[in-house]
């Protein structure tokens, strides 16, 4: 399960919308299953089909999370043409089995968001719980 404060959800989806027509991406900082900060990142691949989290943004997110006593606990990216299910590329390139992998889909009129754990080459959907919050999170904006 991933717990996502509503403010983070808004920031994340807005970032993905701004990225259209290309895929957008960002990282989540927090503790374990609770996301507390969203770190928007540039998509170095600059593609509607692929994403690469801009390495410098990852470095800054990692450093900021550590300074706050947190860790990077997941990554979100958008699918512009397909549903919010992991592609073979997403599964193959999943970097850390402890991370949460969130996918926002914009292939329909209404966007959707799903979260997965990807372990040993297999993706399994997990519960995504959006909880009430006040305002944003103060993450880095890149």
């Amino acid at each position: 399960m991933i717990v996502l404060p509503a403010g983070l959800y808004s920031e994340m989806m807005a970032h993905c919308l701004r990225g259209l027509p290309e895929e957008a991406c960002g990282l989540l900082g927090g503790h374990g299953d609770v996301a507390e900060v969203f770190y928007p990142a540039g998509n170095e691949a600059r593609s509607a089909r692929l994403y690469t989290v801009e390495p410098k943004a990852h470095l800054l997110a990692d450093r900021d999370a550590e300074e706050r006593g947190m860790a990077v606990v997941g990554v979100v990216h958008s699918h512009t043409h397909t549903e919010a299910y992991p592609s073979p590329i997403d599964v193959d390139q999943a970097v850390d089995p402890s991370w949460h992998y969130l996918i926002a889909s914009f292939c329909r009129v209404m966007p959707s968001l799903r979260s997965y754990r990807i372990v040993g080459g297999a993706a399994e959907e997990e519960e995504l719980r959006i909880v009430a919050t006040m305002g944003g999170t103060g993450g880095l904006h890149g």
């Binding site: 895929e23 690469t52 989290v53 299910y85």
Partner: protein, 98 residues
């Protein structure tokens, strides 16, 4: 001495250590020393060709070594080398999650 920061995903190979101090003149030398200390990291940071593995990014302080001299990037006493996984993916043929 140079501090090498190891990402969480690789700490199973470093007995849980998140940072390791080494003495080296270049990034390549520092990473080879790291692998000598923790052989489980072999092939995970530097590939079989002796090049930086494509699934990791390595920084000296704030700078990505891909834009410097890669493994030949010189380091000074007090520098910090950070290793992070390259985070990438994207859509394509859909795989239904199980």
């Amino acid at each position: 001495m140079t501090i090498i920061k190891v990402p969480a995903v690789l700490r199973t190979q470093t007995n849980g250590q998140s940072s390791v101090e080494v003495s080296a003149r270049t990034v390549g030398e520092a990473l080879r020393t790291l692998v000598d200390i923790y052989p489980g990291l072999r092939g995970q940071v530097v590939d079989g060709e002796g090049e930086l593995h494509r699934f990791v990014n390595v920084y000296v302080n704030d700078d990505d070594v891909r834009y410097l001299a890669k493994l030949g990037t010189e380091i000074a006493d007090g520098d910090t080398i950070t290793i992070l996984p390259a985070v990438a993916g994207g859509d394509g043929p859909v795989v239904r999650a199980g």
